[in-house]
Structure formats: structure tokens, C-alpha cells
């Protein structure tokens, strides 16, 4: 489910009692119930029932995930709360490997009998699927890690903050937008806590407590006389953090830029004020003249381009064809990787995959098949050097172990390969955004996540943004509108001629990357510094429908 539908489905005109329809949510609970914890010893006892039953029924490998998934979301518009959700989903998912074939079953009935019975069902499904097996699963070895735990390093648990305080913050942002000229504003705060217990027949018993937060808004301006409307979304990033993300810090100001940006603290109210002013400015902004421009892309925008054009095509399951019927395949075929010289981008393009980065959405201690979090190069000096793998894929690219990219969005979803944080590395040389802009003769400076579309093998893409500024002779000269750029992934990354240093490095994120059938959502971050791309094709998106 994409973000728009997520908000739409729980929004206006629908009774609050519909929230249970959202796959991301489970049962509605009282806010304080979110703070209760399940005892680790109890979870181990339940997990062992499944592991023993699986072994007894002939499984060569089994893993168990006992998950308690908490979601809290507050949706507002102008002066009112549209909806609130405080939900819990709790249950157990059991995956078994029998005669080389996977089977999976899940239940929310947590009795010993139910867990044993569900394990039996998983074994039966594995045996049933065997008739369509073409090659047995090869599972990369992973030494058991014993009893361990990992927590997102948060300063303040967002679930402990009173709901009234959160509503006050959203209302303050709404009021600030309205008093600065907005016609409408919607704002939302979403919080996630995944309490995951993983156990497998390798001897791992892993208890994890994972937190994510996403504050966002849309400010809209309407000019009824002209029949035109404009909007601007928040420049926040969803983060793997606690409520401390919303402790307003000093904005990050790029020299010469008219826009305040944010790093590890986000000021919702100040950004809402800025958005309302920028919406007014958009009505009089210059409509873009189509043509070739040098683009200077801020991390609030570039993150999504990295996600779509680097993150997805380096997912090994896509490369192999497992996603052919839904998300698609990939242009980064194995022969390109094997050649060791496939020129994905310019020499400045260095992309790292990482499941351990602090504050990121993809950070964990261990993945959903017990593999420790790690970091590795995907693109090195512009060359494709690696993919993203899980345990049953590692052998395909000659790896002795998985890279730890396995994830399921719920206890009742089957875990599979998902994107780790995939980030563009900053310039090792000292280089500011001001330095980048100074060298551009005819360009566009783009911020924020806008419209995005890319083909099923990740060649051709088109991206929009939230804010566009014209650069002329090294200076930002005014706001533009109706801008989208089209390119081909390899051409685009080879046109990257400049990137700012680590001072400018910031995380972009998405809460709901969709993949798989039935579709599962996953949250992932993409870090980068501002980068410059030369001679990119820009189109004008204005149309008339009378």
C-alpha cells in the first residue's frame, strides 16, 4: 500500500472503526497497553515448541518469528483530528525447510497446541509445494548466536509521549500553516514499534525492539478565481528514531539556498510555516522551459532516485526473476556483475548497503533469518560490485554467507529479500553545496519527494519534486514550477559530476516500499549529500483540461 492510499483509507468520511482494515494495523488497543512487554523466557518457550515439532516432522531447518507490532498514527486537518489509531498485532510465523522446499504457516492463537498444529501445517505446505520444485533450496550457513538482544538506540520512546502532546504539536503546525496563508493543511504522525523475537534450529534466540517515526504534512493553497491549486509536502524524513527526532533543533542552512533543511532533528512547525509561504510563491513561479539542464539534487529528493534506480535493481531476487510478475526484474543482470567492469556511474558514484546505520529505517541487530547486520559496497568507483542477498541466494553470487537482507512486515508474512539502507557516499574532498551551485551555468536545484515512476527493469525514470529553483550563472535566481526530469539510470549516474562532502550528508526515508505478492511494506533509508548531474532532460508538466 502506498502512502497516499494509506492515508486515504484511514481518512475522511470513513468511520474510525475501519482502521482494522489496514494491513499495517492490527487490533486497536489502549495507548498504555503499548508499553507492556512480553517476557523473553516465555517467547523462547513458545519458539522451542515450534522448533521441536518441525525437527520431529522432518524439517532440516526451521525458524520462528514471534512478533508484536505496535502502530500509532494521528491524522489531522486544519483544526481537527481526523483519526487516531493505536493498534497491536501479535502472533507467530513458522518457516520450515523440508526436503529442500520451503513451507510457511502463521497463527495468532498462541497456545502450545496451536503452535504445534501450525508447525505441522507449514510442513504439509512444504511437502505439497515439492511437486513444483525445480531445484532444492541451498541455505547459506549461519552460526547460531545464542540468546542475544538488540534495540534501536532511541532517546525517548514515542509511545511513552502522551497522545495529547502529539496532537498539540500537529495542531500547532496546522495553525502556523493557516496563519501564513494556507487554504488547507493535513498533518500526520506515525510511529512504529516492532518487538520481534526470532529463533531457529541453528541455535539463535534473538530479541529485538525496533522503533520508527514519521511526521509529515501537506500544505495546500487554492486560488478559486483562477481555479488553480498548489501544494507542498513536508521536508521531513521518516527515521529509525524515537520522539527525539521532533525535538526542534537548528535547521541546516545551505549557503545561498532559500530553504531551511533538517538533519537529525526536525522542526515540524517551522517547516509548515515555510511550506505555506512557498505555496503562495508557487502560484507566481516561472513555468519551466523544457530542455537540458544541470540538476543539483538535495538529499530530500535524491534519496528516492537512489531508492528506485540503485536500490531496486540491485535486489538479487529481482535480478533472478522472482519478482517478474509484480515489481519486475532488473537491468543489472549477473553477466554485468561478473564482468567486474560494468560502468553503472561516474567514478564519484560510490554506493554502500548498510543494515547497521544509526537513525536509519533499515537498522537492525539481526535480520529476519538470524544474520547479523552488516555493511558492504554495491557500487564502487562507478562499477557494479555486489547485490543484496539472503541465505537461500548467497551461493548464487559465490558468497559463503548471507548479507542479512531478509525481512517480513508481520508475523504472518513470509520473510524474503528486502532492500537494506542503500546510500550514496559523500565526496571525500571538502566540497559544499554552495561550491556545487557556483559552477552551474543553467540548472535547477530540486528538493523534496514528488511524483516518481520507473520501468520494471529500472532503465527509464521520471521524477518530480516539491520545490524547484532556477540556477543561472552560479546563482539561485527564483522559483520554477511544472518540472519533471526523465533519464536512463546508467546515463544519469554517469552524468554525476560533483557531490558535496560529509557535512551535507543527510538521510531520506520511505515507510512503505512495496514488494512481493501478497504485497509487503518495508521501511528503508537512503543517505546522500547534494549531488550535481549534467545535461538531464527536463519536461514541462503543465496541461489544460479546459
Amino acid at each position: 500500500m502506498n502512502r497516499k492510499n494509506f492515508i486515504r483509507a484511514s481518512g475522511l468520511g470513513l468511520g474510525a472503526y475501519l482502521l482494522g482494515d489496514l494491513p499495517a494495523f492490527g487490533r486497536t488497543i489502549a495507548p498504555e497497553a503499548a508499553l507492556e512487554r512480553l517476557e523473553v523466557g516465555k517467547k523462547k518457550e513458545l519458539a522451542d515448541i515450534a522448533l521441536q515439532e518441525a525437527r520431529a516432522k522432518g524439517a532440516s531447518y526451521a525458524d520462528v518469528r514471534i512478533g508484536r507490532y505496535l502502530n500509532q498514527a494521528i491524522f489531522t486537518r486544519e483544526k481537527q483530528v481526523r483519526n487516531m489509531a493505536n493498534t497491536e498485532s501479535y502472533g507467530i510465523g513458522i518457516r520450515v525447510l523440508v526436503d529442500g522446499c520451503w513451507g510457511f504457516a502463521a497463527t495468532d492463537r498462541m497456545s502450545k497446541e496451536s503452535i504445534a498444529q501450525t508447525t505441522g501445517l507449514a510442513v504439509a505446505i512444504a511437502k505439497g509445494n515439492a511437486r513444483f520444485m525445480t531445484e532444492p533450496v541451498q541455505l547459506a550457513p549461519q552460526k547460531g548466536v545464542g540468546d542475544v538482544s538488540w534495540n534501536t538506540p532511541i532517546e525517548r520512546n514515542a509511545f511513552e509521549v502522551p497522545i495529547a502532546d502529539k496532537i498539540d504539536l500537529l495542531m500547532e503546525a496546522n495553525a502556523a500553516a493557516m496563519s501564513n496563508g494556507a487554504s488547507f493543511v493535513t498533518s500526520t504522525l506515525m510511529m512504529v514499534n516492532e518487538q520481534k523475537y526470532f529463533a531457529n534450529t541453528d541455535g539463535s534466540y534473538i530479541d529485538q525492539d525496533i522503533h520508527r517515526i514519521w511526521p509529515t504534512f501537506t500544505v495546500t493553497g487554492v486560488n478559486k478565481a483562477s481555479g488553480k491549486f498548489e501544494s507542498r509536502d513536508a521536508l521531513s524524513a521518516p527515521r529509525g528514531m524515537g520522539y527525539e527526532y521532533l525535538t526542534a533543533g537548528r535547521p541546516y542552512q545551505v549557503g545561498g539556498s532559500p530553504v531551511a533543511l533538517y538533519k537529525d532533528h526536525y522542526d515540524l512547525v517551522a517547516d509548515a510555516v515555510a511550506a505555506a509561504k512557498q505555496v503562495k510563491e508557487k502560484f507566481n513561479a516561472k513555468s519551466i522551459q523544457p530542455g537540458k539542464y544541470d540538476l543539483v539534487l538535495d538529499p530530500t529528493h535524491l534519496g528516492l532516485t537512489i531508492h528506485e534506480s540503485t536500490g531496486h535493481p540491485t535486489e538479487l531476487d529481482r535480478v533472478l526473476g522472482y519478482e517478474a510478475n509484480y515489481a519486475g526484474t532488473s537491468f543489472l543482470t549477473l553477466d554485468k556483475w561478473k564482468s567486474g567492469k560494468f560502468n553503472y556511474g561516474s567514478k564519484l558514484v560510490n554506493v554502500v548497503a548498510d543494515r547497521s546505520q544509526k537513525g536509519s529505517l533499515g537498522a537492525v541487530g539481526y535480520d529476519d533469518e538470524g544474520v547479523p547486520a552488516q555493511q558492504w559496497d554495491i557500487i564502487k568507483d562507478g562499477i557494479l560490485v555486489n547485490y543484496q542477498t539472503i541465505r537461500d541466494q548467497a551461493h548464487i553470487i559465490g558468497l559463503a554467507a548471507s548479507q542479512g537482507c531478509c525481512y517480513a512486515d508481520s508475523w504472518n508474512s513470509i520473510q524474503f529479500q528486502r532492500m537494506p539502507n542503500v546510500s550514496l557516499q559523500p565526496n571525500p574532498q571538502q566540497r559544499s553545496v554552495e561550491d556545487l551551485i557556483k559552477d552551474v551555468e543553467k540548472g535547477i536545484y530540486i528538493m523534496g519527494r514528488g511524483s516518481y515512476s520507473i520501468d520494471q527493469q529500472r532503465y527509464n525514470f521520471q521524477f518530480g519534486g516539491q520545490l524547484f529553483y532556477e540556477i543561472s550563472q552560479g546563482k539561485i535566481v527564483g522559483m520554477l514550477k511544472d518540472v519533471a526530469y526523465q533519464s536512463n539510470t546508467q546515463e544519469f549516474w554517469n552524468s554525476m559530476v560533483d557531490i558535496a562532502d560529509k557535512e551535507d550528508y543527510r538521510l531520506f526515508g520511505t515507510f512503505s516500499d512495496g514488494k512481493g505478492q501478497p504485497s509487503q511494506a518495508s521501511a528503508v533509508s537512503h543517505g546522500s549529500s547534494t549531488a550535481r548531474f549534467n545535461g538531464v532532460n527536463v519536461i514541462n508538466t503543465a496541461r489544460s483540461i479546459g
Binding site: 475522511l12 483530528v81 495468532d108 520444485m133 526473476g321 522472482y322 509484480y326 520501468d455 483540461i545
Partner: protein, 447 residues
Amino acid sequence: MAILSKEEAQAILKKVIGYSTSDECMVSLRGAQEGNIRYARNAVSTAGESSTMDLSVSAVYGKRVGTASINEFDDESLQKVVKRAEELAKLAPENPEYMPALDPQQYEESPTYVESTAAIDPLKRAEMVGDSLAVSKADSLEAAGFLNNSKGFRAIMNSKGLFAYNKSTDVSFSVTIRNQEGTGSGYVSNSFNDVAKLDTGALSKIAATKAKTSAGARAIEPGKYTVILEPLAVSDMVGWLARGFDARSADEGRSYMSKKGGGTRLGEQLFDEKISIYTDPTNPELPSATWDMEGVPVKKTTWVENGVVKNLEYSRYWAAQQGVEPLPFGAGGRGFGGGGGLIIPGGSASLEEMISTTERGVLVTRFWYIRSVDPQTLLLTGLTRDGTFYIENGKIQFPVKNFRFNESPVIMLNNVEELGKTVRSGNILVPPMKIRDFTFTSLSDAI
């Protein structure tokens, strides 16, 4: 346990309402049993089954609403969930848009439940996937597909005595078939309430044929072309129109249905006169519940007639504000579920006949990764996928490389040359369409 009869559901809901002490109370009960198989590289990759049932209670004091839900159904659990909803309601901020519970309503019957679909078991699913794999293997092609079936029920009751119940079945199938070299790809997808209408083997043959005939695509210049959109491609585009029928967004000036100078485009000729759009929850090809989640009856409604906007959707709140009757879009809702049950009546031409009368054009199997570029004009971008062909002198000449398009379905439905025969495509009923001046803006190497 997951599928309760009308009487069983009513008994539980009555009991829950009986425990309530709040000013108003609304209860919703639903259950579903679902099963699926996913396959790729000509082998099953995952399979699963799930069964769920839960009850949701909304308690109301004045304009304060609290909601709680539960998946246990003994008396003690039912009392607990009511109490929790009432506690939450007392803590909740007032909702100025809260509308009082509706009085009991009358609903039409709709044929949403088909016994043979409800009876699908893992063996039947495996057989249906086997029929699909047999096609790909016989031609040395590679299949990746997904088969999903479900049966479920929903019931609602409120403290004024309103009660509604519906049970339904669904089976959905899609498959992508590619050649071994990766130079050709075909796709089919459809959903039905009645599994008897689904032939996975026959559909897979269509995908296999497209995989073979789309190989070796040639590049032709992007630009404006006459296109023949197969029903799948049409549904990919026109599903986006449904979002605009919300009267509130239109009145507020922030949708393509908003009018210059204020107000909405109600009564305006917005599309070609060949285009009519309606929804009908009792249509036997696309049945859905005849009530929405507040209990408002959902009836056959004409949204567009001969290109003129005839109706907009009004929530109960917005209808009260505007002094009109509430008008729900449908049980599926707008904007998600792929168009919420839109029906566009077509003509009698077959796809072959439409091709035979085309001098120069492009045949599009489907679109992919469609996103809104400008909500003001409903400009969308996306790409063709899984079978795009060049037509000249009434014949398909050769496969062409995929295109990116930038086009608005509002503009597209003003450029209608011909409509074919209406069929079900996912959750909407549409004809194939011949459209002039469809805007392709760049080429893609993707296959």
C-alpha cells in the same frame, strides 16, 4: 469459524450493542479466509493460508468517538472491548465532523458470494497453477504468477438498530510469462467472484503468445500516437478518475473536478460523448456490498452520462454541509482497489476489428508504475509493459520498445475514436478503447 451466517453475525452484534452504555455505539464484525500460491522461474516459491475474524466497537459520547477491537468472542471479551471503547471515547478530542448513527435502512441483494469459489482448497489452487505452468513449460518459456482466493463476510450494527450483512468470494490470478532470452514478455491478470469464469491455462496461453510475439521489439520515435488500449491498459488509466468524484475536494477547489471561479464541474461536458461511467453493486459481473461502512445504502449511480458529469460523491458530513443527500461511491471506495467498481459501457467491436480499422497506431497490453504528476489536470506518467505493438494498414506489423507516457485520463477520454466490448478487468468493467493523440514522451529499454 471465520465465515459466519447472517444470523450468527447478528446474534454477536446484538449482544455487543446490549453491553453498550454510551450515547451511540457502532459495531463491525468481519471474517475472512484467504489462500495463495506464488510461483516464479516455473516453480512455486511461496504458499500460504490465513483465517481471521475480528470485531470492532466505536463508542460515542457527544462528538467524542473511541474505537477498540478484539478477536475473541466469549461474553467476557465482548464486554471488555465495549468498556475499552467507552474509556477511549471519554479521552478522545471532539470530532466536529461526527455524524449521528443512521436509522435502520433497506438494502438490495447482490450476488457477491459463489459457493464454488468458497470451496477452493490448496489442491485446487495447485491444480490451477499446474495448468499455468504446463503452458509455460510446453513452450520453453518462464512463468511467474500469483493466485489468491478469499471468502469473507462483513456485518455492521448500530445502537439505533441498523444492521447490514454481506458475504463475498473472490479469486484473482495474474501471470507474467517471459522467453528464456529475456527478450519477450507477456502478462494477463483478472479477478472474479465465480471461479468457474477463471481458466488459468487459457489466460496463460495469452501471456505466452505475447511473450513470443513481443520478442525483438524495434524502437520507434516517441510522440503522439493513436493507441488501442486493451481493457487492462484502460483500467490502469481510468481507475484514477474515481478519486476526482469526491464532492468535498471539488468544492474545496483542489481536484480536477473543481471549476475556475469556484464550485464544481457538475453538469459540465468533461469527456467525449461516447463516455458514460456508472457504478452498480448488483452487476453480476462485478458485484459488491450494497451498503457502505456507515450503513448508507449503495445503489446503481450514473457519474458521467454521454460525457457530462452527472453526480459527485457526498459523504454524510459533506452532504449535510451542502444541503444535499449523501451519495456513496460504493463499498470498495474511491481511489483504492483500482477504481472502486467503475463501469464504462462500450460498443460491439472486437479488439481485432478495432485493429483492422486502424491506419497507424500502437497496441498497448498494459501500463506500469503509473503516478500522478499534476493533480490539477490529473496528468499521469507511466510506461507500457508486456506487449506493445505497431499497427499499420489495419494489421499488427511488429513489436515496439516500451514507451513512457505523460497523459491525463481526462484528456484521453476526450480523444475517444472507438470503444470495444466491455469486459471485467480487475475491479472494473471497461471496453478496449481506440484513443487518438496519446502522448508518449520517451523510450524504455525494459522488457
